[in-house]
Amino acid sequence: MESLTADKFKSILDRWLPGYLEKRFLLAVSGGVDSMVLLELMRQVLPHDRIYVAHVNYGLRGKDSDLDEKLVRNTASQHHLFALFKKVDLKKMAENNQKGIQELAREIRYQWFEEIRQHHQCDFIVTGHHFQDNAETILLNLLRGSGLKGIMGMQILDQQRRLFRPLLQVRKQEILAFAERNKLEWREDKSNQENYYQRNFLRNQIAPLLEKINPKWQEHVNQTAMVAGEYFSFTHEVFQYVLTDGKIMKKDGMEIVDKALIREMNHPALFFYHWLNPYGIRWDQIQYLLEKGMYSTETRNLTLNNKKQLVIDRKHFILTESQTLNEKIFLQLDIRASGEISKPFKLRWEIIDIKEFDFNFDKDPRVAYIDYGKLEKSILIRHWQPGDSFIPLGMKGRKKLSDFFIDQKLNEEEKKNTWIFLSENNIFWVAGYRIDQRFRVNPLQTQRIIKFYLLE
């Protein structure tokens, strides 16, 4: 077995990232042997200021979780690496969430890594995934029903997600041997030994059985992945060529495909897959497009990630940027009389005379009661902009909206999607969260109340 050394690691870096000495890396370090080996190797080949360490403490294993964090802290400290830590109460978050606990953890982790990667202008997020991890991932993807891309498994270098996994072709045994040779300290994740999670079940129960069928199954799965990867990039290339063949019309940053053209295709699913794969389309969505989208007569909307959406009208599929649409929306609303709108979101408002009002305030944050007399007759609705501030109900001083959002624990997406109501440039309602102190209903002064409901 080839052994893992700093020199071998250097050659991996050289092969995948020539000029790596000029780059900055954000290391995802859990405290397990893989990531501790990764940290040690990176430290040996790079200047200390090029390495940023990030660790998430989910608090799932109580004291053990804290000991993991402590180990990462001490190791980073010892080598003068700049380290960032995040504590999350995962159990609590999972309670209010549909997603599985592992998926949620991954989501939180990568979102935070990406945030600090951008903040500190790191080039890549580096993880300690290795050969065995990849084989397991591929099997799991297969069981989940994935396309060619799932069979490809993880990539060493994922430019799109700015991910780098330099140990992906390295065997677990080499990693362990390196750790022992260098007398590294690491923490065994106790939950790995339980069969609580899918992956662990596969690793602990199924892998030994697979070993009986074929002791080299890991190599073979990785090999298949490689073959799949070759085919994938080949079809992608071919497809690029086919695509340029007049099927996709580009106009004002939109990509438009005529439904008639799709009907003529032999492999429409593949067409959708390659066209929309960069925006994260899933096979079940493609199925939906083929079965429902193709024949729908009313306008439908499919949200993809990467800020794109697919609009389906009677004759076309239209790929547009959903985000820029949102950001540019400035809504002027005439509130001289009660009314409602349904686009871009559902809102109803009522004007109530104070004499008819029972002072039974609805506690729902999606409902706001505002002093009608203090508002202009035409109000502005838009999304958050840097520099926005208001006086939250119950407070004396101004607060920056960005700080308010942090207090409310909103993520970037929620922040962007929150609607802000303004009258004469003053924010009077952060929809769904808080009204402004100055615009509150004052029983002694207010004559008419306007009540806004946010529907949905």
């Binding site: 000495l21 200047p47 200390h48 200021d49 400290s77 700049f82 960032l84 945030e115 500190h120 942090i406």
Partner: protein
């Protein structure tokens, strides 16, 4: 090498959003107090980074009293991605002289109206797209300026290097001392000239009056936390001689009341009078209105706190603030403005003070 435990960060707000970061574990705990009169950090990036713990104490502070030792810094200097460069750095002042004079005149009006007696108005000298090795720069600063309160701070991509000659506060047991500096004279070329410059400083009416104003302010600050009648001025306007300058230093001592903790002391005394003016809060308001950007850690404080609650804190002056990602390099300097001075003299003093640091960076100020 002392082994520092991970820092716990507390955000401490009072008056004009002065942020105090400190940790409370370990044998020696580094303390960093930025001066942020403008309600925002401009060099320290958003420190909270959501729920992360931004400070990792070992990398937090390398004061000359050596939390890490000079060898460690030398090692880190060679392990840094930039080897020391000899590039000439061009600094710009954030005010033109005309702008400076206008603001000086506004300050004079405040002085004549009696809003303040004295204000420390500072300007920023900055350079952009600079690549330096901050560790090497720090070693250079130590060697060339040799100041007792030098300190080095790193937070991620951001560095502070200060060659501070000034102590802000020192607490030993229940005794607390403050040593404000006001009044500086250069060293002479020969012994005779040197003696003459020293005598001159000793008798300078302007420097003595500035110094006494600050001493009064410090006495006032300390009296809030001191036992009755314990505030004493043990040295008034004494001239000390350093490697590159003579300085007029006073020493104010006090005995602390019982049950006074670090928070109380900082709340009563920070920011230090020598960097703001007298009366302190009127002076801060004027600073807030007139200075162009936020001082960041300049005129803040760096120091350490031990397990028994004793501490030693400096005044961050002669300081370099550096953002390694954007390449923004900043040196602040200022002087105490009273009725006895002119815009030309103060403008010149800012340049002399800034230059003492800028020349170490092999820099020059544009237009000089």
């Amino acid at each position: 090498m002392l082994n520092l435990k991970p820092a716990i960060v507390r955000l401490f707000l009072f008056m004009k959003q002065i942020h105090l970061f400190f940790s409370n574990t370990g044998e020696y705990t580094p303390v960093i107090i930025p001066y942020t009169a403008k309600n925002k950090f401009y060099l320290l990036p958003e420190l909270d980074c959501k729920n992360s713990m931004p400070f990792n104490s070992n990398r937090f502070l390398y004061p000359e009293m050596s939390v890490l030792g000079i060898d460690e810094i030398k090692r880190l200097s060679t392990n840094y991605s930039v080897s020391s460069t000899r590039q000439r750095i061009l600094f710009q002042a954030d005010h033109s002289f005309e702008e400076y004079r206008q603001k000086f005149d506004i300050i004079q009006k405040h002085l004549q109206r009696g809003d303040i007696y004295e204000v420390n108005f500072c300007i920023e000298f900055y350079a952009e797209n600079v690549i330096i090795n901050p560790y090497a720069t720090y070693l250079n600063v130590l060697e060339r300026l040799h100041q007792p309160f030098s300190a080095f701070v790193r937070w991620g991509d951001w560095f502070l290097i200060t060659a501070s000659p000034e102590r802000f506060l020192q607490k030993t047991g229940n005794k607390i001392i403050s040593q404000p500096i006001k009044g500086t004279a250069p060293r002479g070329k020969n012994a005779k000239e040197d003696q003459w410059l020293k005598e001159n400083l000793k008798n300078s009416v302007k420097d003595i009056s500035e110094n006494i104003m600050i001493v009064d302010l410090v006495r006032n600050d300390l009296s809030k936390i001191a036992k009755r009648d314990s505030v004493k001025v043990s040295g008034l306007c004494e001239v000390y001689t350093f490697e590159s300058v003579h300085q007029m230093i006073s020493t104010v001592e006090a005995e602390l009341k019982d049950d006074i903790c670090f928070d109380h002391i900082i709340e009563a005394t920070f920011p230090m009078g020598s960097m703001t003016g007298a009366p302190k809060f009127s002076a801060m308001k004027i600073i807030d209105n007139l200075e162009k950007s936020s001082r960041g850690l300049f005129s803040g404080s760096v120091g350490y706190l031990d397990q028994n609650g004793n501490f030693d804190l400096n005044v961050v002056i002669r300081a370099i603030q550096y953002n390694a990602i954007t390449g923004y390099l900043s040196v602040w300097a200022g002087g105490a403005i009273t009725v006895h001075t002119t815009a030309e003299k103060e403008w010149e003093e800012c340049h002399i003070k800034a230059n003492s640091v800028i020349q170490i960076l092999n820099g020059i100020i544009d237009g000089r």
